[in-house]
């Protein structure tokens, strides 16, 4: 049901959403002006904003933080997308197979459950040895990390397919081998999207890990490099950039999921 809310209510809710972040920024600014925080370690928002605009918009001069933001952000986003795409496709396919076929579950599930608790950063040495200090290392680490939530949630969703719907489909003439695409996958879609959302979140965490340790570009690399020069403003800008890009990716997945699952609204 749609409430007769009008603009005032919407405006009020959006207003409230801005209040706390704005208060934090103001407090941060005051803390540096009044000397509660050492501006060398925590530069004020105004400095951060200036560094950010320079990093994004200024014409490159050879200085690492002038006009190079787009390249770094693009590199990171590219790695996230490639890694996540691998994780999503392999994860969904394997998850469906594990969830549906007992034999495949018996073969693969123990392996997955044993590997899953290992922190992905522990794989860095192997990634570097096998893939070098190049993009494939990052793809591997991101894909591996995002794979687990996708595969686990997909398998769980498939296993929860209502038996009654399978019977209904069989009774209506669906042949056994067509149950997977016709009934099981659609029924598991809500869980699959849960897995994808968790996966894209992990992908943004891991791109920073990968770029700090295993490749030489991207926001994670910029962040680590800035640390050597004590450019704390650049570190903060990188953090905010990653947060923003991760948030945008999450919104995109939510949008796709809401459109795909429009049948489940209010269910």
């Amino acid at each position: 049901m749609r409430r007769r809310a009008g603009w005032s209510r919407v405006a009020r809710r959006n207003g409230l959403r801005v209040v706390v972040p704005a208060a934090i920024v103001v407090l941060w600014q005051l803390a540096t002006t009044w000397g509660w925080l050492d501006a060398r370690f925590v530069p004020p928002p105004t400095t951060v904003l200036r560094s950010w605009t320079t990093w994004i918009f200024a014409t490159p001069t050879g200085d690492p933080y002038t006009g190079t933001w787009l390249r770094h952000a693009g590199n990171s986003a590219y790695r996230v997308l490639v890694g996540f795409a691998i994780a999503a496709s392999v994860g969904v396919v394997l998850g469906v197979l594990i969830g549906w076929f007992r034999l495949i579950a018996d073969c693969l599930d123990p392996v997955i459950q044993l590997l899953r608790p290992i922190p992905i950063s522990a794989w860095v040495p192997f990634a570097v040895i096998f893939f070098g200090i190049r993009d494939p290392s990052a793809f591997f680490l991101i894909a591996l990390g995002a794979f687990f939530p996708v595969v686990v949630n997909t398998a769980a969703g498939v296993q929860r397919t209502p038996a009654l719907l399978v019977r209904a489909a069989r009774m209506l003439g669906t042949r056994r081998h067509m149950l997977l695409p016709r009934v099981v996958v659609p029924a598991a879609l809500p869980s699959i999207f849960t897995g994808l959302r968790l996966g894209i979140g992990i992908a943004w965490v891991l791109v920073i890990v990968a770029e700090m340790l295993a490749v030489k570009s991207g926001l994670g690399f910029a962040m680590w490099d800035a640390y050597y020069f004590l450019r704390m403003d650049i570190i903060i800008v990188s953090m905010l950039s990653v947060g923003l890009l991760g948030f945008l990716c999450d919104r995109v997945i939510i949008g796709i999921s809401q459109w795909t699952l429009r049948w489940s609204r209010g269910l």
Binding site: L164, A169, M171, A187, W263, L267
Partner: protein, 282 residues
């Protein structure tokens, strides 16, 4: 004690062994056992069910809860295999589910990610019916159950009665020989239930199909059925088969209806008592 058929004998619409006409469904000594994993013992759900059902017959299976009514329907549908005995559909052993036997479940079992139209379209699509013909069939079937204008709604946007109409339309569009209905109206309110019962009879008389209807509601059983098969408490056997024989539409307040109601209530009561006693001693 085996009192199979003792109450009424073969009814007027029942094809006896000598009639020469093959019944549509024949059950011979049908038995179903399964392992109760929680208790680690074997449970007999159905025992020695022998039952013939004619092509145009409306048979109601009535019994206390847990007597194996649903198991019987699942076996007829092909969802479960019998442990013993023989079940045939027009002389052919039932080996799995199929669109010739439309099942209507109590919980509707509509595909929630599909609209009303897409749910009804499921069967024709599986049979690869040409698109134009399919659209026409589906539209006509939706109209026949009174859901024109709701084609693009999802199941959760419909009331219980409307959902059950979709479930009915979805099987009728396949033109099944047999309708298997598992307490289809149990979740509906009294008014909707009465309405749906009348509509079901209309559907049945329009294209005379076989209907096997499971219920625990005695009035519903007498109102709908040509015959009412009363099952015993577990293990489910046929306690008695009652031929209703009242002209339709039936008046649930008439004297004859009440006589049947009294008789069947007594039969069911006995079984409920037995089930309670068994549960108490276990």
């Amino acid at each position: 004690m085996d009192t199979r058929g003792a109450g009424a004998g073969p009814g007027p619409r029942t094809a006896g062994p000598g009639s020469g006409r093959l019944p549509r469904i024949t059950c011979r000594d049908l038995t179903k056992r399964f392992l109760d994993i929680a208790r680690g013992e074997e449970v007999v759900a159905l025992q020695d069910i022998t039952l013939d059902i004619d092509a145009e017959e409306f048979v109601v299976v009535l019994g206390p809860s847990g007597c194996g009514k649903t198991t019987l329907l699942n076996i007829l549908a092909g969802f479960e295999a019998p442990s013993g005995g023989d079940v045939r559909l027009e002389g052919v052993q039932i080996s799995g589910p199929g669109p010739d036997r439309g099942v209507v479940f109590q919980e509707y079992a509509l595909f929630p990610w599909l609209t009303v139209r897409q749910n009804v379209e499921w069967g024709p699509r599986e049979r690869r019916m040409p698109r134009a013909q399919r659209a026409e069939r589906v539209q006509a079937q939706i109209a026949a159950v009174g859901l024109t204008g709701f084609e693009d709604r999802y199941a959760h946007e419909l009331s219980g009665g409307m959902r059950q109409r979709v479930a009915l339309a979805r099987v009728l569009v396949n033109d099944p020989k047999i309708l298997l209905m598992d307490e289809p109206f149990a979740a509906l309110d009294a008014q909707t239930r009465t309405l749906m019962q009348a509509e079901l009879l209309a559907v049945w008389s329009r294209a005379q199909r076989t209907v096997v209807f499971i219920t625990h509601n005695i009035e519903e059983a007498i109102y709908l059925g040509d015959r009412v098969v009363v099952l015993t408490a577990r293990p489910g056997r046929i306690k008695e088969t009652v031929v209703v024989g009242l002209p339709r539409p039936r008046d649930v307040t008439s004297h004859e209806f009440n006589l049947l109601r009294r008789r069947i209530t007594a039969l069911v009561e006995e079984e409920v008592q037995k089930a309670f006693a068994a549960a108490g001693s276990a």
